[in-house]
Symmetry: C2
Subunit: 150 residues, 2 copies
């Protein structure tokens, strides 16, 4: 039986913050500065039953990848939730070894077990390799993604 | 002063369900069937402080448009939330009169007032007119949107 997907704890926070900031590799996560706003955001995610960070862990607590799942209730699709995936990152020095596929597959399984009928995500148009990756997981590139910075 | 954006109540539910189902116009919303799953989904949205349906209302309770806002906490962007917009609909017989712009502008204002630093949405690649509309509101079409039905 596949182990339950690890959900981020505060212990993982420095490594996850480094991943999201685009640090190539994190030799020592304890050196990463995590500011108060980030801790508050983590606590908000942690307290929200419709949000979770997932981490891919080497087994010894070393974080190799992460993503965030948000479960969104909606009036369409017979009242079933959709799952939104954001903040997908795999450590730069560990890419190409199937870790991203493992992490995404776990996230999709988790959404399915919860009863979601749709998983969605967006990827920057420049990231052709990521697009092939998502297509290989069965995702359809059916939409354009619009962003407005406030 | 602009009136506060109307948030959907259970009274609006038949009209919103009709809009989402693609009904061209709803002459009498009381004839629309709202199943239990849909009512439960509405209650889930209503009870969740990070989800809200907004409606555009003629003033007499007639629903002309709707959208859903989801406020998503995250570890990036200095711990500020992003707002996701889904389920944008304007009644077919009232399009072209600026109602969509009014509704989207209110949603963006609401996200800004809440402290969100980003608003995002996806639109089907076939909907070129919608894409011009979102661009005219300042959105950048920077991403591709991927969907996986479960």
């Amino acid at each position: 039986m596949r182990p339950p997907p690890p959900v981020t704890t505060r212990l993982d926070l420095p490594a996850v913050v480094a991943l999201l900031a685009g640090e190539e590799t994190v030799v020592d996560a304890s050196t990463v500065h995590v500011d108060d706003a980030c801790v508050r955001a983590f606590d908000a995610i942690d307290a929200d039953r419709r949000n979770e960070m997932m981490v891919l862990d080497e087994g010894d607590g070393t974080v190799l990848g992460c993503l965030q799942l948000t479960y969104i209730p909606g009036l369409g699709r017979h009242g079933q939730e959709r799952a939104l995936i954001e903040a997908v990152r795999i450590r730069a020095d560990r890419r190409g070894a199937g870790l991203g596929r493992d992490l995404l597959t776990r996230a999709i399984d988790r959404a399915r077990e919860r009863g979601c009928t749709l998983v969605q995500l967006t990827s920057n148009k420049r990231r052709a390799e990521a697009h092939r990756f998502y297509a290989s997981l069965g995702f359809a590139r059916s939409h354009d993604g619009f962003k407005l910075s406030l």
